[in-house]
Structure formats: C-alpha cells, structure tokens
Symmetry: C3
C-alpha cells in the first residue's frame, strides 16, 4: 500500500476531493486490483471491524460490490434493507444509524433516495464525537462518489495500467450522455473529471438537463473554466470524444412526460456504432449499470470489448471500494 | 472468562433464572464488553459453529445484534426471514427448525409472533436427543429474555462498572411505563428485576395492564412479595424512582380502540423532563427501541446523555448476547 | 480427500454423469460428512473464493444448504434474491451474471424458474473464456442435480456407510411417487438411479406423468433398458420396493385442474404405513422437502426414524454440496 496520509474521515461527495486524494485512491485501488488477481484474494486489513451496509433504497449491485470489498479486507459485514427494517416501525433514520453505531459498527455504507441523508448521519456521528465513518453509496440526485471514483479508475488504468493517476485525463474529451438531471452518477463524475483537467461535454434532452447548469449553457465553449460544456443534442458532445459515459434512463421518466418514447430517446441519444464514428477511433464507452439494452446503448455495442468498458467498471468497483474502506477504516486503528 | 458452571441448555425465559445465572451473565458480558473496546474485537470461541437466526417475525435490530454477537465469537451465521421462506410453501415451523438442525445448526435464535414457539422447538430438539440450543429472541407477548438481561446489564454496569452484579439493584425503585399488556420486554424485566430485590412499579392505562396482574393490583403497596406494584397513573410509579423503563407503543393499539390518541397517551404516560422531576435526581431512562419520538418519550430527553441509557442498551445488547451464545455454545464442545 | 481427477467445470445436469463421477462425489461427500462430525467443522479449501447464490426463484432451504456448505469450506458467500434485485430495473439475467463475474465471483449457484437458465449462463461464461463455474440449484422443470446426488448419497451411505458407491444400488427397486411431470427432482433422480443399475418405477396420476415418457409406458416391464417403469397407480411401484421417493405436490396443481383434491390425492398416492406393507420390510422413504404433511406422506410416517430418511437427506445435502463446490472450486486454483 502507498504511504499516503489520508485525512478524510467520511466519503460523502467528490466536490472537494483534492488531486492528492484522487491519486491516493487510484494507486491504492491498483494495488488491490493486483491482490484480486492472486490465488488468495483476501488481506487482513479490516479484521474485526464491522462494515454495515445500510441500504434504505435497494440496490443489489452496489451492495454486493461493497460486501465483496469488505470481505476481501476481512471485515465482518451486516446488511440492512429498508423493506424488512424497523423503519416501518416509525424509527427515524438518525436513530437507526445510532443503533448501528451503538452495536459497534465501524463503517456505515449508506444509500438513500433522499439527497443529504449520508451527510446528515455523518454530521450526527461527528457531533457525538465517535469514530464511525460514513460512506455515501448514492443519495437521491446528489452524489455517488464511489461510482465517480471507479469510473475514473477504469479510465486511468486503461491509459496507464502500471501507474494510474488523474493527470492522464488532462485535455481528454469526455461526453456524458443521458438523463443528467436525475443522475447522481453524473454529478460525481463532473467533479472528478473537471478536477482532472478533462473537457466534459454533457448531452441530454432539454427536459433532462439540470436548470442549475443553465447559466453555463453553451453550444460553443463558453463555460465553467472552459471545461464543462452543455448540449441539447448528442453530436457535438461525441465529436472527437475519447470517452463516452452513457447514463441509465429510469423508465419512470416516460410516465412523467419528460420523454416521448424509449424508441425516440434511443434514436436521438442512444449510443450506437454509427454515432461512435463521430468520436476518436479508439473511443471507449462506459455505463454505470444496470443497462437497458437498446435504450441507452445498442445491445451489440455493449458486448463489444473493443468499445465497452462496462465489465471493467464493475471489476474496478471492488478494487476502488476496497481502497475507500481501507483509507477510512485503517484510520481508526 | 469466569469459570462459572453453566447448566442451562436453552434460554427461553427468565422466569426460573437463578441469582448465580444472572451474575454469570453480567460478569461474562462485562468481559466481552471489554473485548469490544479492543482493536481486534473478535474471539475464536465459537469458530466452526453455525448460529441460525430464524426470524419468523421480522426484526432488523435484534437480528443484527445477534448477528454481530455471533460474528464477534467467530461463528458462522445464517439468516432466515419468514417473508422469503418455504413457510409460504406450507411447511410447519417444527419442520423448518428440524431442517436447520439437519443442516448442522448449533444454536437457533428464534423470534415468532406466537408465544411459545421457541419452547416448542426446544422441546422437540430435546425429544430428538440432539445438542442444538434454542435462544428465544422474542415470542409473542410472552418473553424476550436477552432484552431483559441487557436491561439488567445496562443498569448494573452503571452502578458498578468494574463488577456488575444483581444485588446492586436491591431496594432500587424501577418504574416500567407503557403498554405492559402486550410487552414481552416488560414480562422478562419483571422476572429479572423482582429477582434482584428491586421495587418494580408498573404504570399503564387500564386497557394496557394485563388482567393476570389484577389480583396484585394496589395503589399502596399490597403486592407480590411487596415488590411488584401496579398503577393506572404514571406519577406514583415515577415518584423517587431510580430508573424508568418506558415501553414501545405499537400504533396498532389505537386502531384497536385501546387508546384515544397518541397525543393524549404522551400527555399522560410519555416521559418528559417535567415528569422526571418526580424521580430521584440522578434517574436514568431506558427504552428497548425502536422509539416513537414524542410518544413514549420526549425527543430531547431521548438524546440527553444525562438521562438516557438508550444507546448504552444497544451496546450492552451485543455483549450480553455474546455471553449467552458463549454459555450455550461452549457447552457443546 | 480422494485423488480423483475431476474434469467437469459446471454442474448443470446429471444426464451425462459417469460412474466415476458419481463415485467421486459419493466418496468425497463421505469425507466431508466425517469433517462435519468433528469439533471444528471447517476446512480452508476455498478460502478467499467467492460463492454467489443467485436465486432468481426464492428457496430458503436450498440457499441455506449451499451457504453452509460454502462457509464450511471457508469461502465468502454472497446472496442475491430476485425480489430485491436490479432485475426489477430491466437488466437481463445474463447481464446480472456477468456483473457478478466482473465482481470476482468464482462459483455461481443458480436457481431459476425457467429451465435452461444455468446452462445459458454457463455457456456465456465459457464463451467469455473465464474460469467461473456454474452450479444448477434447480431450473424450472428441468433438473436439480445436487438434489439427485444427495438422494443418491443418502441411499448409498445407508447401504454401506464406510464406502458409499453407486454399484450398491444395482438391482434395487426404487419407486418415485407423485408429480413427476413438474418435478426437476424426479428428472435428476431418474438419471442417477438408472445409471446405478436400479429398477426405477414412476407412479403418478395420468395428468402428472410427462408425455415424453409415454412411449416407454408400460404396466408390465417393457421399458427403457428394462430399468424405467411407469404406472398410473401406486401399488405396482411400491410392490417389493427397497426405497420410496415421494415428491412435493405444488398446491397450484389443484387450481390448474390437474387433480381433484388433496384428500383424494393422499388417498391414492400419499405414502402411508398401510401402503408401505407392499414394499420390502426394511423399506425407506425419501422426500426432497418441504413436506406437505398428510398430503404426500402421512405425518406419523414422516417422523418415524425406522422408515424416514428425510432428515438424513438434509444432512447429506450439506456434505454433497461441499463435495461439488470442492470439485469445481479447487480446479480453479
């Protein structure tokens, strides 16, 4: 493991991550990626510690990824799912968190459909003066920092497997396509990618672009640090892009009349071989999953290892989450 | 660990617990409490043993507490939740228990909405001549012995952290306030607290006091061994009390017309700073959780460490359950 | 462990199992059965490996059995239940499996209500050139190979506890009674039992016998290799039988008008002491569980250790599943 000094106690957002922190995560995740290729994939780092996955919003995929990461570090894991919980008995979320604190939980991995819940729990833990760390595993439309970091790690390890670091992204063009408005994944990625010095181009139908970005809106590059660009059409975002991140489309958006039809969405914003011709020849495509095949991305493209990084993202997820648990967990020892 | 000889194979009820047994649990839980403050919080006591949490009635809180306790003892744990089980396929409860027996379960932790289910399973195990132990984690309105023991441990460690023992409670006045009628927690506590020599005062609206206690009913101390007192108003129970245990109020009691309204209940029986003035100055408040803030107890009081033992109860729960699993588990080796 | 060379990478069906493979499973399961009787019931065989139980169809019993088996081998386990999964978010089954692959799963134990799903996933894993093994834990009305093997193991260890082997069944008469049509358990057992050289007699109401077997239909022994016999009444199947396997009856069969009533079914095909008089005197009865008492088998007979092997089957299940995980897991090291 690198000997980086890590001072962040909770991981709630990428909005204030420093270059040093990004690089620490990338390097440590690379070490763990190497551990995972060995015969014995476990390290004793967090032995005796309890990692509680408090998923007030269900997510098998993210919960399993954190659970494997914690077990690889030899931690004990507890799973809490809102559906079968005392939440139905009227207890507040802070009281639930304090109950897991009192039981001896060392790290709380929290997902909630409301933005700000992990922050509120982290503040409460700090107010109580306890050592428990909180890791935001997705809160409403706010952030999903471990997803942002695994996307970053996936791209950087592609660019330099031996030494992934954030400066590798400088000057790269990255398109983020889809439902930006409702996407916590997009928000976390915008922080990490603009911090890297990449050019980030968001493309979405007008109904799915956040109003808060309206002041930066520009078809021709007048924007925040000249790094963040917004488009109502997908073509200018894809042109000469090095990477394309496509976002999951919630089917509920149709019923809310934000989109006319899945077919039209796919035609306009779905990523296909044809649209990829606008990009750099060695362009790669990412998606946070789960994928609606034939909606956000054409089915054959998703399975094409020449273009798709989707499986690599899932693998990166375990290594990056091991790194995050390692940093906030080993600080407590 | 103390060298106490432990002869009880199942833990189903506190009705026949002896002083020696209470003290053994208190001392062993204190040892485990100490283990939990160490860097490595695990001991190898139950390595290779399987603890199955058979929760026919859902309870994330109690299940998590038993799961952490078992993992701290290095046992393997299995979780069974009725909702997703073969119970929906028509199998009987005894057959489910026998299936877990046949799979190699060593300890069954059982919760069920019907009183007597853990006893019935324990009897069946004994009839079969097998070594499996049954631990009642709450059965209907009957008992919840580990809750009674953790309440006892919480109080005794407050009175003498270095040497918690049941005799510390002799002569103390303890008020139990709320829905006594439906509370297995109250029933288990009545056994342990009267065994300790404390004065136990139950206070509840007449509709929520068990009829079986009617013969002991007395506003002025004519009761079972002069230790158990019943009141229809909260004030006489609180007067000069050393400890106040307030019970969870199930909201279903309203719809069953046992109570007029939550607001009126809180006004009459909810524990507030104002009502606590009747108690001894250093009075402490307990609640088994989950709490309906502003119903059984005022929200600010619950969070006040000067009065509230609610978080300490949760922490005690893990240590006490480790002690119970240790006693019934190590007997099998 | 025996030094058998094991070449099968996935375990999907018993249709092409060889005698050598059957005997390898029987002998290895016998070794593990012995481990399970020791004080420390764990072996480090699969330390660091991840066994993911992907149960798209819920089954607490089978999932718990695989989970205990994996933990006894020191593997880490992950549980996936369809009800709370991203399946509800529109992801395909192959994509879910590939996600678990990318997270580092070594063995996937898969149950699905559709026949062929485990095969499809195994083919996809092979196409991708990855080392992950797939174990079919029940697919539609197709097969349930670990159940077939545990039934075989239960019978063979009864016949020779020190040296269970498939040839012990040669010439034995085995009746399989009940809903053959919908039973994957029957299908797997037919493969293993006919491979053993036993005489297999299927008995079911005409509506519950598979049409595919019609060509073999015979009341008087004109059948496939003279080993598989079909009957519309139970008596000829039971006459002089050494073993009787009775199958679970899904209550949905009634509503589908395949059966007139549970009572009539029990009268005609339910196994009772009276019907057992037709069998050999030391006949034994098996049932895959969970049992509808008083339907497939009379309640007192189920509990009679002189006749019932039902508990032994559950215990065998853990040992057999340890053997299967051992064979396909250790190949990867």
């Amino acid at each position: 493991m690198p000997t980086t000094t890590w001072n962040r106690h909770h991981i709630l957002s990428l909005s204030d991550f420093t270059t040093v922190e990004y690089d620490a995560v990338l390097q440590t995740a690379a070490s763990f990626q190497e551990v995972l290729s060995r015969r014995t994939k476990k390290v004793p780092t967090l032995q005796g510690q309890v990692v509680a996955n408090l998923f007030f919003e269900p997510s098998t995929r993210t919960r399993s990824s954190f659970e494997i990461a914690a077990k690889r570090l030899s931690a004990d894991t507890l799973n809490f799912a809102a559906a079968t919980s005392s939440m139905t008995k009227g207890e507040t979320i802070l009281d639930t968190a304090k109950t897991y604190l009192a039981m001896g939980t060392d790290i709380m991995v929290i997902r909630h459909r409301e933005a700000g819940v992990p922050n509120a729990i982290a503040q409460e833990m700090d107010r109580l003066g306890v050592k428990v760390s909180v890791l935001n595993a997705g809160d409403g439309q706010h952030e999903h920092p471990s997803q942002g970091l695994l996307d970053l790690f996936t791209i950087c390890t592609l660019l330099d497997p031996a030494n992934p670091r954030i400066e590798l992204l400088k000057g790269k063009k990255i398109a983020i396509v889809g439902d930006i408005l409702h996407s916590r994944v997009a928000r976390s990625n915008i922080w990490s990618l603009t911090a890297s010095g990449a050019q980030v181009h968001l493309a979405a139908p007008p109904t799915l672009l956040p109003k808060i970005f309206a002041e930066y809106f520009s078809e021709d590059a007048t924007s925040l640090n000249r790094q963040l660009f917004l488009h109502w059409e997908v073509e200018p975002a894809l042109r000469d892009a090095d990477f394309v991140m496509t976002l999951r489309l919630q089917k509920e958006r149709m019923t809310a009349h934000l989109l006319p039809s899945l077919r039209e969405y796919h035609q306009l914003f779905g990523i296909t071989r044809n649209k990829l011709r606008l990009c750099k020849p060695n362009v790669k495509v990412l998606h946070p999953g789960p994928v609606n095949r034939g909606v956000e991305i054409s089915s054959d493209l998703m399975d094409d290892p020449e273009f798709s990084l989707i499986q690599a993202q899932v693998t990166s997820g375990v290594a990056v989450r091991m790194a995050l648990l390692y940093f906030i967990g080993s600080g407590k020892l």
